[in-house]
Amino acid sequence: MEKPIQSETSFLARLRTGWSAFIRALGSPDFSRKVAELLRPSPTQAKPKPVELPPECLHASGLAVLSLLQREGRLIDFLKEDMAAFSDAEIGAAARVVHAGCRKVFSEYFTLEPALKDAEGATIKVPAGFDAQRIRLTGNIAGQPPFRGTLKHHGWVATAVNIPKVSEALDPRVLAAAEVEL
């Protein structure tokens, strides 16, 4: 019974199968029903094209973070404002608002850690098979690891993210509602 798989799927073989199926189906209602079942489109074939989410829903959590940073720290106002006309002292005062508010958002919703625990400026060893996600090499990259280098920036890694779930009833595009005082 061990036939090479090609022979059953060759054109002639398929013609043969088709023909005998045709003849048997004509004679046997039972066989015909079985063939009809095979011919019915399978559920996987029937699967509709995935609905594409509108971009604002696809990026809802990103928009939610922006909204949080605006609500607590007025970050969007700050970034959208033209700084040219203001003195450093004025910008500094506003920066306190932004810093205090955004810092609160950070401490509440994100747990951040340096990617490398060593002190910046320290000479460190980058072993063979180092984690290229967490470590980016710069400067004179020659030869094979292990490398020795100076830690210029310790990097940041989010170890926990706890963004509040926002109701689906809320339009995520609205980062800050207009305020109208009556």
Binding site: R71, R74, D77, F78, K80, E81, M83, F86, E90, I91, A93, A94, R96, V97, V98, A100, P164, K165, V166, S167, E168, A169, L170, D171, A177, E179
Partner: protein
């Protein structure tokens, strides 16, 4: 059978819930479990917090997008918001915000069952009663619990609800009613300073016996968001172990940590106004918030001379609209430390301004912001009361005031150690001048959550574990009896006061008033004036006081009333009755009329609708 003991701190500005598995054989130590309370923190956002701000916002029907006020357990919620968003948004829309419901609940000058809040709200705003608002907070806490512990519904658990020690019988009764309305029929009440002390005991474990010894008198100073509450707890020895007795409580003082931040904001605002910078309501709120932060910064670092205050502009122009100011250490000291905790003598009593009839309608805020002067008044008045009492639990002979040996602080205001130090300093000055030993601070108290935690611990103690604080009622109660005299125009007939419940009545006990007989007319409404005293420790049941009006040891509380039901056409009959007072197991006072020589028994209700 309940699984948990649950302590609910229903605060003036914040509420919290702590829970304790009753099957535990050991106290929790310092790991006192708290319930995370989901609440709306911003439109369409629900987050868990350990504190539920006790604020209720009543939105306009069109104000927020449909579905954005939903809670995890109530997807259709749209007519009321409780918690953080209620507070933050409500500060911009004060006419729709219910705040300090608890203070209204104990304000005898208004009808506490009618829809009067938000106070002075315009016609079209839906209003609620102080009772409804309190019930609303409790219902939110119940739903939050049930959502997280679906197999142990809160109404099946041992719930301990905290009330200020200064709450009188009527306010306690209303708190109980609020709990019932919120779907919590079975609760026990505990006084907040006691709960704070329980929390401290639990945290210390057995080590607390090293810190307090028989003979000690612990003063609990509880400055909450909106109220200040004092209690004295005496440590004695009994059968070889220490025993704790709450011996006195202070009056209700509407003065709290929120007043302090406001005072700072007003001070800075005046200076800004002098510079021509005018703040609107929104900016003033931001200034208050900034003052709180600057205060914390200055208190945390003694070397700082000043802290910056930044009030952002309200428009999208952040840099252009920002107003800058500073809070200096001198200002902080003069406004807060000296303003609220002045170095006063023990003889300096709080100033009481004359009130006009109209002013009494709004909340009766303390007229004197000096917490230390209120403390002086409490300690000196209690010393006078104990000096004449036959079995005073604390020795006061020859002393101008009750000498505490230790102080336990409670309330967020005392996160600033400067303020604790000031209270200790002032108290120790008084003690030194009066020939006493300095008092020490009982350290390690958790200031924000202690009351809820201590309440949960107390629920466990009631099951026979640990040490229980005794004390009974902190007041004696009296019924007003009008004396028969010929009517004289313009003169009120003198009123005598009949003691119906003595000071220190224990929970689960009753007192009969056999001597005095009253005639009640069946079918007619009977009303008694009702008085309380936190100072008269020696009056026994049946004692009659002659001079009620103008007696500053007695305070009139809500009147009590009843209507004897008619049966078989006995309407108009005169029924002789005696009075009976019962302190229930749950910590409320009940008064009954017992038919003399008959089976009749009627409950007298405290009328909290209005003091007349």
């Amino acid at each position: 059978m309940s699984t948990y003991s649950i302590g609910i701190d229903l605060g003036t500005t914040n509420s919290a819930v702590s829970y304790f598995k009753l099957a535990e054989a050991e106290a929790r130590g310092s790991a006192q479990t708290m319930l995370g309370i989901p609440q709306i923190t911003s439109v369409g956002t629900v987050e868990e917090r350990l504190l539920l701000p006790s604020f209720l916002y009543l939105p306009n029907a069109e104000e927020f997008p449909a579905g954005t006020l939903a809670l995890p357990w109530d997807k259709k919620r749209k007519d009321a918001v409780v918690g953080e968003f209620a507070r933050s948004h409500g500060s911009k829309v004060p006419m729709r915000l219910v705040a300090s419901a608890k203070s209204w609940l104990c304000h005898a000058g208004v009808d506490r069952l009618s829809a009067i809040l938000p106070w002075q709200a315009p016609e079209d705003v839906q209003r609620v009663s102080p009772l409804d608002a309190s019930a609303g907070y409790l219902a939110h806490l119940r739903e939050a619990w049930d959502h997280q512990f679906p197999d142990d519904a809160l109404d099946k658990q041992d719930v301990v609800l905290t009330v200020p020690a200064s709450f009188d019988a009527a306010a306690r009764d209303l708190t109980l009613k609020a709990a019932q309305q919120a779907g919590l029929p079975n609760i026990t009440l505990i006084e907040e300073p006691q709960a704070a002390f329980y929390a401290w005991i639990e945290q210390m474990g057995d080590g607390f016996r090293k810190q307090v010894k028989p003979g000690d008198v612990v003063l609990v100073v509880d400055v909450g968001g909106g109220t200040t509450d004092f209690s004295l707890i005496a440590v004695t020895s009994k059968d070889g172990d220490v025993a704790l007795t709450r011996v006195a409580v202070g009056d209700h003082i509407l003065l709290g940590g929120d007043n302090m931040d406001l005072a700072l904001a007003h001070t800075v605002n005046q200076r800004l106004a002098a510079e021509g910078k005018k703040l609107d309501t929104w900016q003033f709120n931001a200034l208050t918030f900034a003052c709180r932060q600057a205060k914390e910064q200055l208190f945390a670092d003694a070397k700082l001379k000043k802290a910056p205050l930044v009030v952002p502009g309200r428009s999208s122009s952040l840099v252009g609209g920002t107003i800058k100011a500073e809070l200096s250490r001198d200002e902080l000291t003069s406004v807060l430390t000296d303003g609220f905790f002045p170095k006063s003598a023990v003889t300096d009593l709080p100033q009481v301004a004359r009130r006009t009839g109209l002013a009494q309608m709004a909340l009766p805020y303390a007229q004197d912001a000096g917490v230390t002067r209120h403390l002086a008044a409490f300690l000196t008045r209690q010393a006078r009361a104990m000096a004449t009492a036959h079995d005073a639990p604390v020795k006061v002979e020859g002393r101008a005031f009750v000498h505490p040996t230790a102080v336990l602080f409670n309330g967020g205001a005392f996160k600033a150690s400067t303020l604790k130090d000031r209270v200790i300093e002032v108290l120790n000055d008084w003690l030194a001048a009066d020939g006493g030993q300095p008092a020490k601070e009982l350290e390690g108290a958790e200031l924000d959550l202690a009351v809820a935690r201590g309440a949960a611990y107390y629920g466990w103690v009631r099951h026979g574990h640990g040490l229980r604080i005794r004390g009974g009622t902190a007041r004696a109660y009296y019924v007003g009896v009008e004396t028969a005299m010929p009517a004289v125009p313009g003169m009120e007939p003198p009123v005598k006061a009949l003691c119906v419940a003595p000071f220190g009545m224990e929970e689960g006990t009753q007192a009969d008033v056999p001597t005095q007989e009253f005639g009640l007319v069946v079918g007619e409404h009977t009303r008694f004036r009702f008085f309380a005293s936190s100072l008269r420790r020696d009056d026994r049941v049946g004692v009659m006081l002659d001079d009620v009006i103008g007696n500053d040891e007695l305070e009139e509380v809500a009147p009590i009333e009843t209507t004897l039901p008619t049966q078989n056409g006995n309407e108009g009959n005169l029924v002789p009755v005696n009075l009976q007072a019962v302190v229930t197991e749950i910590g409320t006072l009940e008064l009954r009329c017992l038919e003399k020589g008959g089976p009749g028994k009627w409950k007298l209700e405290l009328n909290v609708r209005m003091k007349e």
